[in-house]
């Protein structure tokens, strides 16, 4: 039995981390009877442990809510989940493409944050109806009136249009449900048109293979149909279609405006392209739905197993992760200092952190990660263009005629009192002010053009410390610009340590070289010989430190004949030395790689 499109509402919730999206989703499920309070697993929509722990959502999912509105009519509300961070903006945008409306959920004490705003703009650009909601109005620190005015200013609506709820107590949730029905437009698809359904997500299920989340735009998709995937030009039989209520419930058919899941026989996630359009084999000429950009990795980091024997395990773990995360890409990389590993491409900083943590936690790997880098574009003397993702691959300046780096448009929202420190930080990071906009007299939105390389490492921590934790930050790709960049190499006892090489702006090269040499002097234990630590641009040394030689490494006597004890003591010390990497003749502690790359918070 198909629901008429006039009774369907498809919507997402856009919210900052910790602003209560999952709690609100839970409350909506409860109110509509989709789950009883008793079997409610807290924060039902977030499935992965890591997501729950960090309070963020990565994978989009669609949940169907059956709701009888005050007009006594039954509606189907499809809640399409979105990730909260712009690292995953490609996931956000495809989730939004499956919706006609979005709830913009804002913490009534904290106000709107940069990431929320970035996603809200995405939704507005996609033509979605925005339903503004303030959450946590039960908290003593809540300032619903001021925040409502702020939201109204951003969205161009009246402060009274802002719904005030407490997802925790349930206050205001009834009003929100009504507004979903009244404010969000019904989908417009026609049942008689040829089928066009959007694949807005896919994930790998160990039992069922690849599961697609689909939104039918026109026509209908039925059990037993053959689905034709326009972009990949593949046909797959529909093994099962259904909706999540939130328990997977098979249905015979998905009509226009409906969302649900689709299972075919496909076992490899690579065979399904998110953003693809599904139709029937007799309509292969339909206009494809606007798809999505291929997720493009922006940040790269070398991941090396601490124990060289774990290389294959690392490869397997990456392959398993890719089953659910098609955006993950990597190529093998070998480092003289760190051995064999992979240069892994990430969508952004959060993505990098999550992947690294999952590898260590779920796959029990002990990893050394090199400093994140970005992809530089290099024009060689012969005119060919190459992309450089790893500092070691940068050709000598004599062999290239152009070197450019990726920029981003960074958006920072901060209390007005911290505008000065933020601007100072951005200037240090080679940022170029693009705009300044007072959201309220107390809160400023600053936009900058800034090299991605300047924000991939510890930028957010420093921004937070300069604004006492109040600033929020997000960014979008903003093209490439030529820049005066150099590679700084770090040499230990005369040999370069590839893991410490970095590409940086010439103006920052000395600072990097000096601070790295100083840090390494502290981190590298004294050896049996003097160790020179040098920073160099090409053959020119720009900084030098020395680790003095150990002079004495011997105990006075054998503890009155207790040779066993002495053996145990030295064996223990030898165990400690195993956590060292031999770089040429120099022993470097494993932690030094991580510690040396850590930037001081005071920058």
């Amino acid at each position: 039995m198909r629901t008429p499109t006039s009774r369907i509402r498809n919507f997402s919730i856009i919210a900052h981390i910790d602003h209560g999206k999952s709690t609100l989703a839970d409350r909506l499920l409860e109110r509509t009877g989709a789950v009883t309070e008793r079997d409610m697993k807290e924060q039902l929509l977030d499935t992965m442990d890591l997501e729950r722990e960090r309070g963020i959502t990565i994978k989009a999912q669609a949940v169907r809510l059956d709701y009888r509105a005050s007009d006594e009519l039954d509606y189907v509300l499809n809640l399409i989940d979105t990730p909260g961070h712009v690292d995953f903006s490609y996931e956000v945008s495809r989730s939004l493409a499956a919706c006609e409306g979005a709830v913009l959920l804002v913490d009534a004490s904290q106000g709107v944050q940069a990431q929320t705003l970035a996603n809200a703009y995405l939704a507005i650009e996609a033509g979605l109806e925005i339903v503004p909601v303030l959450n946590k109005i039960d908290l003593p620190a809540a300032e619903p009136e001021a925040r409502a005015a702020e939201l109204a200013g951003i969205l161009g609506c009246e402060p009274d249009d802002v719904i005030k709820v407490s997802a925790k107590t349930g206050a205001g949730v009834g009003e929100l449900l009504e507004r979903l029905v009244t404010d969000i437009p019904a989908p417009v698809g026609k049942a008689d048109d040829p089928l066009r359904a959007l694949v807005f997500d896919s994930y790998f299920d160990a039992y069922r293979g690849v599961v697609c989340s689909v939104r039918v735009m026109d026509g209908s998709l039925a059990q037993g149909d053959t689905a034709w995937f326009l972009a990949t030009r593949n046909r797959h039989d529909v093994a099962e279609i259904g909706v999540l209520k939130p328990v997977a419930t098979p249905v015979s058919e998905l009509g226009p405006g409906e969302s649900g899941y689709l299972i075919t026989g496909v076992k490899e996630i690579d065979q399904i392209r998110v953003g693809d359009t599904i139709t029937h084999p007799n309509h292969t000429d339909v206009e494809p739905l606007p798809g999505y950009d291929e997720p493009k990795p922006m940040v790269f980091s070398g991941l090396f197993p601490t124990d060289g024997d774990d290389f294959e395990r690392l490869r397997e773990a990456l392959e398993k992760l890719r089953l659910n995360d098609a955006s993950l890409s990597w190529e093998p990389e070998s480092s003289k200092a760190l051995g064999f590993g992979f240069r892994v491409g990430f969508l952004g900083l959060l993505h990098m952190e999550i992947v690294r943590e999952r590898l260590e936690r779920e796959y029990d790997l002990d990893l050394v990660a090199t400093a994140p880098s970005v992809a530089y574009r290099v024009t060689l003397s012969d005119g060919t263009e190459i992309e450089v993702k790893s500092p070691q691959d940068l050709p000598d300046s004599a062999d290239r005629i152009n070197l450019s780096e990726p920029f981003v448009r960074a958006m920072i929202i901060t209390p007005a009192e911290f505008t000065g420190p933020v601007m100072e930080l951005m200037q240090k990071r080679r940022g170029e002010l693009d705009g300044m906009h007072y959201l309220t007299p107390e809160r400023v939105e600053l936009t900058y053009h800034v090299p991605l390389a300047e924000i991939v490492f510890d930028f957010f921590d420093i921004l937070k410390s300069r604004t006492r934790g109040y600033a929020s930050f997000d960014y979008d790709p903003d093209g490439y610009r030529e820049a005066d960049l150099v590679r700084v190499d770090i040499l230990l006892a005369g040999s370069p340590v590839d893991a410490f090489s970095t590409i940086t702006h010439r103006d920052n090269a000395y600072r990097y070289g000096r601070s790295m040499a100083e840090k390494l002097r502290e981190l590298i234990p004294r050896q049996m010989f003097e160790v020179a630590i040098q920073a160099a641009i090409g053959s020119r040394i720009i900084a030098r430190e020395t680790v003095r030689a150990v002079r004495k490494d011997v105990t006075a006597k054998c503890y009155g004949g207790d040779i066993t004890r002495k053996k145990k003591l030295l064996a223990r010390q030898k165990e400690g030395k195993k956590r060292m990497k031999m770089v040429g003749t120099v022993e470097v502690p494993q932690d030094a790689f991580v510690a040396a790359l850590r930037v001081d918070a005071d920058d």
Binding site: V550, K552, D553, V554, G560, G561, A571, K574, T585
Partner: protein
């Protein structure tokens, strides 16, 4: 007959491997020094007789080894032994294992305990070698080390031991306490050389866990500086070398014919019996140790039980590696063998050879830079991971 062979000669060291010896531990001290982590008991010297009786009992119940080449009575403070006690212990050892002609019978002694009559008594009982716990002649260092003697007692003790006719006199020194200076260490060495002992041991002060010293350091007192200690070690080798003392082990220097036979045996992997609380022995491929507490030791012996607290088997490949592990402390170096070959062939061994830390001299593995002996020893232990 005492030989006049150089203490660092390979022949002397290789011969030591086959000699048998015994260690006897006398734990009593008038006062426990703050840096000491040996098995010692202060304030219970009234138990001395009972203890000597127990040691004699332990010896009597032991399996015979072979005639002993050397006996080392260490402590604690063995010079607290009343006259007659040493004779009882030696008699028990002779009865159980036999003692060779011309043995080395060493006793450790504190300078302040040594009197002419006492020395004569010990000599009568069989003593051939005394090792004085001098530590320093700098009053400030002696005070900091918690010693009960002053510089004056040192001279008196060494001279009276000489006069009494003790065949071999050794002096133990401790260097590198933060209150010591380069000049005061030089003075100590010069003054000791002037006393003309036959043997000098120079030990770097080590902060051992669980000692008052380690607590003081943890609370902020200055710790010995290893760089300074390295310089002091070199100073000692130089001054003693010029005075005719040959360094034959990391911390030991002797005139020809005056190396410590007992110690050389221990470094060569020889077998030695061990008696008394906290004593460590090595026999039949087993390293073993006795209980450390006085009460537990006495109770066990008097109940007719074994005082053993634990033991490890060290045989085959492990014994070979261990022989290299201890042997590299000795200047003569370690005679070739499977472990030596394997080590020279290992990645660590090649690296150390490349750095000039170790070398092969007439088929013997020699540590050319003794101050890195533990660095070499750690890598030698890596051989244990090889199946042999």
């Amino acid at each position: 007959m005492r030989t006049t062979e150089a203490p660092d000669s390979p022949a002397v060291f290789d011969r030591a491997a086959d000699r048998k010896s015994a260690y006897v531990h006398i734990p009593f001290c008038a006062r426990v020094c703050p840096y000491c982590d040996f098995a010692v008991v202060g304030d219970r010297t009234d138990e001395m007789d009972r203890y000597v009786q127990a040691v004699v009992g332990e010896i009597g119940r032991d399996e015979p080894l072979a005639p002993l080449d050397a006996v080392f009575v260490g402590g604690g403070t063995p010079s607290l032994l009343p006259v007659g006690a040493l004779a009882r212990i030696l008699a028990a050892l002779a009865e159980r294992h036999g003692i060779v002609d011309d043995p080395e019978i060493t006793m450790e002694a504190n300078p302040e305990d040594w009197t002419v009559s006492r020395g004569a008594g010990y000599l009568e009982e069989g003593l051939t070698r005394v090792s004085f716990g001098v530590q320093s002649t700098d009053p400030r260092v002696l005070l900091a080390l918690g010693r009960r003697h002053g510089p004056r007692e040192v001279g008196v003790a060494v001279a009276s031991a000489r006069r009494a006719g003790v065949p071999s006199v050794s002096v133990d020194l401790i260097f590198g306490h933060p209150v010591e200076t380069e000049a005061s260490w030089r003075r100590t060495l010069d003054e000791v050389v002037e006393l003309e002992p036959d043997h000098v041991s120079t030990y770097a002060l080590t902060v051992e866990r669980g000692t008052p010293l380690s607590r003081w350091v943890a609370e902020g007192s200055p710790a010995p500086d290893p760089d300074v200690q390295a310089a002091r070690w070199e100073q000692a080798v130089e001054i003693l070398g010029r005075a005719g003392y040959i360094r034959y082990e990391v911390s030991n220097h002797a005139r020809p014919g005056h190396h410590c036979r007992y110690n050389l045996g221990a470094w060569a992997g020889a077998e030695y019996a061990a008696y008394g609380l906290g004593a460590h022995g090595h026999r039949d491929g087993i390293r073993f140790r006795n209980v450390r507490s006085l009460d537990a030791y006495l109770d066990r012996i008097e109940a007719g039980e074994s005082p053993r607290q634990g033991s490890e088997e060290v045989r085959g490949w492990e014994a070979e590696v261990e022989r290299l592990f201890t042997g590299i402390r000795v200047a003569a170096g370690v005679n070739g063998g499977r472990a030596v070959e394997a080590f020279l062939d290992s990645e660590d061994g090649r690296r150390l050879a490349g750095l000039g830390v170790i070398g092969l001299v007439e088929g013997r593995l020699v540590v050319r830079q003794p101050l890195f002996t533990d660095a070499v020893a750690r890598d030698v232990l890596g051989l244990l991971e090889m199946s042999s």
